[in-house]
């Protein structure tokens, strides 16, 4: 009954996605060998992200599925990013505000005494 009516993804579509995934793997390996400076990391992550999206949408059939499932996945990713971002907000920014300048060892400077 009901399950028989589910969208069947054509083999052609699956094969194209598989091909794309292999291509992107090759791309990430090649770009990693070239020193692009600051671009390397974002590029690798962008490629990995596109691969993940391909897998999620087609192999995992989210493209054709109930949108609630997509929402669930997006929420999971969003909160993983929140975890990452707010933790890095600490670890990357330590010492930007606060008591980091060296103090003095001199006792002769006594501005407060004169008040």
């Amino acid at each position: 009954m009901a399950q028989g009516q589910h969208h069947i993804i054509p083999i052609r579509m699956l094969a194209i996605v598989f091909g794309l995934l292999l291509f992107l793997t090759l791309a990430t390996v090649i770009t990693a060998q070239i020193d692009l400076g600051l671009v390397n990391v974002p590029l690798a992550l962008a490629i990995a992200g596109s691969k993940a999206i391909l897998v999620a949408l087609v192999f995992m059939a989210l493209k054709y599925d109930n949108k609630v499932n997509l929402l669930v996945l997006v929420l999971g990713v969003v909160f993983a990013v929140v975890f990452l971002a707010l933790t890095l907000a600490d670890t990357e920014l330590r010492g930007t505000i606060g008591i980091t300048e060296p103090g003095t060892t001199e006792l002769t400077v006594e501005p407060a005494e004169s008040e």
């Binding site: 909160f79 707010l86 907000a89 600490d90 670890t91 990357e92 920014l93 330590r94 505000i97 606060g98």
Partner: protein, 546 residues
């Protein structure tokens, strides 16, 4: 639908029918027994802690003994009582019936999560009894925990396993609410208890895995010195605190949201009034669930995190105050022009409002950057979270248990005894915890075995601690009294009518004195909201007690 042989208790007999049950109602009762036992244990530990602190110097425990006892008190109360209790007991029993379902979406998973929970608890007990002492505090801060006894390995594994019990419970409820609602049970006809448990489920599913991986990393840190959290190996102890609080702050909402749901139902039912601001309360539960993930750093203002992130976290913290405030104001407004029936559950609901307001307002206090620097890790914080965790979550649970007791057991409890116990709990609670605000803001740090050395400068610590200890005994008497009359009611209590409170959610209107094994004879068709007392009156007016 009167007394028959088909209710959920009489349908099957024998120990196995309980241990292998997939009936959500029976699993709720299994949780009740487990959590009840752990609550008793945690409560006994708490009286040890308070007795030790009652007088200066060593009273009944030496330093190490005291450290172990408060650690166990924390671990038991947080992981084995407050987190699982309301979803496990009342969520399981009530939620499927309230939405008109015959069971949760995954009944076997539901049973499995109870066994996981028990397995986690047994691991903790095993580690404690046979492996070694744990004195790390329930927060397991590194490097103290990575250098502590091997029992920590057992405790972290226990938290990991019990965490999965919590995940599966939350997952089950989310799917149940999405997919199992009866015809006509639209989202805006869901009882607010269901909304709250649903929001709790979101937090359980999204936050709990992180305590899982934290415990794995801590386990490996202790076992193989992987150097992620231990500064002696190049790790960062503050990173551990991020990991820990990413779960443990949302966990606060796992504890309090279900209690808020109970209070919403109680306020509606016992005021016979549409709950004021239904949509606001429902959505504020979800808002709290999400915002709860953004504020964990307010536990770390003085821990050595960057000043900038402290500022961000403090700002986000205040956002949570808004939906919480909305709830409180709406609950009070629900009584306006209602017909307020002051039975025991309603007394607990009002008590919740009193205690939770204090907990919430002092929460604002400790969320303010500069003030928290002074108050952090003092008894002020201890008092604050007991007002929220116990005055909020546990008082909500006790109120809910009184409310649904007739439906769960089919019997009434003694109303007079209920009121007297409630008054004792109220007095005992405030006498115990209010002095701790003074203790903390005057400078007494938490987790202190002794304060003798501080007495020359702070002579008031002695009387304040003594009062607090006396209060804890009053509180214990009140709680034990509840246990006594509940047991009495279980065996000797008068039989309850199907709907003693005149409530109009499905568990009261569409089931008998005790629900059937599969909840309903036929799937209910829902045509009105959960608090439409005027519509409900014609059909389901309060029945006479028989």
């Amino acid at each position: 639908m009167s007394e028959g042989s088909h209710n959920y208790l009489s349908a099957r007999k024998g120990l196995w029918s309980w241990l292998a049950t997939t009936d959500h109602k029976r699993i709720g009762i299994l949780y009740a027994m487990a959590c009840g036992t752990f609550f008793l244990l945690g409560g006994i530990l708490a009286t040890f802690v308070r007795t030790e602190l009652g007088t200066p110097g060593e009273t009944i425990l030496d330093q190490d003994g005291y450290n172990q006892i408060f650690t166990l008190h924390g671990v038991v109360m947080v992981f084995l009582v407050i987190i699982p209790a309301i979803p496990g007991i009342l969520g399981n029993f009530v939620l499927p019936i309230q939405i008109g379902a015959k069971d949760v979406a995954f009944p076997r998973l539901n049973l499995a999560s109870w066994y996981l929970f028990i397995a986690g608890a047994l691991m903790a007990v095993f580690g404690w009894l046979f492996v070694g002492n744990v004195d790390t505090g329930w927060t397991f801060y590194t490097p103290y925990s990575s250098g502590a006894s091997n029992a920590v390995l057992w405790l972290t594994s226990a938290v990991f396993v019990a965490g999965f019990a919590s995940i599966f419970t939350g997952l089950n409820f989310i799917v149940t609410v999405h997919k199992m609602r009866a015809p006509g049970m639209t989202w805006n006809r869901l009882p607010l208890f269901v909304w709250a448990i649903y929001a709790t489920g979101i937090v359980q599913v999204l936050a709990t895995p992180v305590i899982g991986i934290t415990m794995v990393l801590l386990f490996l840190e202790k076992l193989m010195q992987i150097g992620i959290f231990d500064p002696a190996l190049g790790g960062d102890p503050v990173l551990f605190q991020h990991f820990f609080w990413f779960y443990s702050h949302p966990a606060v909402y796992i504890m309090i949201l279900p209690a808020m749901g109970i209070i919403s139902d109680l306020m509606g039912t016992f005021s016979r009034q549409q709950v004021s601001g239904y949509t606001f309360i429902a959505l504020s539960s979800v808002a709290i669930a999400f915002l709860g993930f953004l504020v964990w750093g307010h536990h770390m203002f003085v821990a050595g995190q960057s000043a900038l992130s402290s500022i961000i976290f403090s700002m986000l913290t205040f956002l949570i105050g808004i939906p919480t405030g909305i709830k409180v104001f709406n609950w009070v407004a629900t009584m306006y022009k209602g017909s307020v029936w002051l039975r025991t559950p309603m007394i607990y609901a009002l008590m919740f409002l009193f205690l939770f307001s204090i907990g919430g307002l002092t929460g604002i206090m400790v969320g303010v950057l500069a003030v928290d620097v002074h108050l952090h890790d003092t008894y002020f914080v201890v008092a604050h979270f007991h007002y929220v965790m116990m005055g909020g979550a546990l008082i909500g649970l006790i109120g809910g248990l009184h409310y649904w007791w007739p439906k769960i057991t089919g019997r009434m409890y003694n109303e007079t005894a209920g009121v007297i116990a409630a008054i004792l709990v109220f007095i005992g609670f405030n006498v115990t915890f209010f002095p701790q605000f003074f203790l903390g803001s005057r400078g007494m740090p938490r987790r202190y075995h002794d304060y003798t050395e501080l007495l020359p400068n702070f002579p008031e610590f002695a009387p304040l601690n003594l009062v607090s200890t006396i209060g804890s005994y009053i509180l214990a008497v009140g709680l034990l009294m509840i246990l006594v009359y509940a047991l009495y009611s279980l065996f000797k209590g008068p039989k309850a009518p199907a709907n003693p409170w005149g409530a109009c959610t499905l568990e009261w209107t569409h089931t008998g004195r005790l629900p059937d094994e599969h909840n309903f004879h036929e799937t209910p068709l829902v045509t009105r909201g959960p608090y439409d007392f005027r519509l409900a009156d014609d059909v389901f007016g309060p029945k006479e007690e028989d």
